[in-house]
Symmetry: C2
Subunit: 318 residues, 2 copies
């Protein structure tokens, strides 16, 4: 009954997120809603240990983006980064296919040191985002490592090997999240889903960004219980992924490469599905899956576009 | 009987060494003798774990010096180094009193990763010096950590805290090498001492550079057995240390701050003691300790001075 006041304060939002794609929308939201009302639940299936350092790419991409220090041309890493340490690592014969910048290394060293001292990944993520001045909560999906393994024609590859080292070239035959059966949601994850006014599924790869989060025991069930309030933004527009290998992976695994194809993967837990006007023709068939469908521009190349989509989504929130 | 040929090939040399002071002479030797004949036994009492990274300052100073990549103005670290990662570590509230450059970090990351994979410190040191093209063998005194603890009026400090963080200001009451009783010489150390034509004690701090090496069970005994061939270059000239806090520490621990004071610490295992002309007046009293004394210029500020001392020492070798 007091729409202005409630809009200003806003309900709590929980957002499931991968890396670069999600961060565009999260940056818009971070500008448009009260940052303390936002809890981000990040994919950690991409995490990898390289040179003994624990690297959490999606956590860092989100944190750097909201902290305003990300290299916005690439969507990851530090702005104005240098790579002196990496060049020296190659002198020692170490693999350097994963780009580790000098400033970025400090994050991995800090996180690895905290884990070595017995802190959890969630505590490390919190230490990092607080140090970088990010006011939204950023939680890993789980404190336990759940590496995403891509089964390809050339054998099993860690997701980062598939994506970065092999540039998504090997044909995908399956995806698994190693050890996920015994993983638990990080403290606060289920509470955030339970207590949020709306739960947002960011426009990330459904298979290897949102998929690992959904696979952590208890998370998909918690979303199903909130289905009416779960709002998913489709990462496939006009049959193509805006970023990364989503389209290719969907096709190779026998899914329809379309908004509807993604909607099918989310139909059991997402009550509201947001598609771009480019996919208007699929609205009726997506509705038949038992979801509300909202059509609005979802392509975000500029900050105004990110903020505009965030504002439009906020109008759908209680 | 074939002096020219034997000079050219040269006998094997084993050199006990600390960091910056020793590296001056080692660089001269590296130029003047066959590098493959040289085995360096480095102090690792200075080693420290910071931010989860295993740092071996003396091993690195020696390796970087012989590889020609050291910052020669400082005597440690990389030439043309940057400190971007360190600045970011400070953002995370981590201690930054120990200067870790971006290029240098790669060495510590590589060493820490190798140790994490089950390699020994000696294997890590070998990997590093080979990658950097150093042809002399560089051995840690021991594969086990033996941290040098400085007992001061303000409590016990790790040597690096005393030296770097506290700039050698606290008054020293004692020195101990934690865990040295159960440490073993690294593989090859005792063999190098046994098989060398001459064993050189570099002009390093006798208490905290050479002292820790001597404290590893078996090393001092091995040197005593070779006393006739052990040649020590005095690090105190004219009653002052050329580098670092040797003079201050000697005084605070009740030793005579002079060439003779150092000679007394080495008299049981060093047969030949090399002093600078500045200390000629002490020759007779050092001889009375049961050592041969050789007088030659030992101050090395330039590469020609380093090479000249190395050449002069080589004339004393078999």
């Amino acid at each position: 009954m007091k729409p202005t006041q409630s809009r200003k304060e806003g309900a709590r939002i929980a957002a499931l997120a991968g890396g670069v794609g999600a961060s565009k929308l999260l940056l818009g939201l971070y500008h448009e809603c009260h940052p303390k009302k936002l809890t981000i639940i990040a994919n950690t299936g991409d995490d990898i240990v390289l040179h003994g350092l624990k690297i959490s790419p999606d956590l860092d991409i989100i944190t750097y983006t909201l902290a305003g220090i990300v290299n916005s041309a690439k969507g990851w890493g530090f702005r104005g980064e240098t790579f002196h340490a990496l060049k020296r690592l190659s002198v020692f014969g170490r693999e350097t296919w994963f780009n580790l910048g000098d400033r970025d290394l400090a994050t991995h060293i800090h996180r690895t040191a905290l884990l070595g001292e017995g802190k959890t990944l969630a505590e490390a993520a919190d230490s990092i985002r607080i140090a970088l001045g990010v006011k939204a909560r950023i939680l890993p999906m789980s404190n336990q490592p759940v590496p995403t393994i891509i089964e390809t024609r050339e054998g099993a590859l860690h997701f980062q090997e598939y994506l970065v080292k092999r540039r998504s070239e090997p044909v995908v035959r399956g995806i698994r999240f190693a050890g996920v059966e015994s993983a638990e949601p990080a403290p606060g994850v289920l509470e955030a889903i339970r207590e949020a006014g709306r739960i947002l599924i960011c426009p990330s790869n459904p298979l290897i960004s949102i998929g690992p989060i959904l696979a952590v025991p208890g998370i998909r069930e918690a979303l199903r219980a909130r289905k009416r309030d779960v709002l998913a933004v489709c990462p496939i527009v006009g049959g193509k992924s805006l970023k990364g290998p989503s389209d290719r992976m969907l096709a190779q695994l026998g899914h329809e490469v379309s908004a509807r194809g993604v909607a099918r993967l989310y139909a059991d837990f997402a009550g509201i599905f947001v598609v771009d006007p480019a996919d208007k023709a699929q609205v009726a068939s997506i509705r038949s899956l038992g979801m509300e469908v909202v059509v609005m521009p979802t392509v975000m190349n500029t900050l105004p576009q990110k903020r505009a989509l965030a504002r439009a989504l906020l109008t759908l929130m209680p």
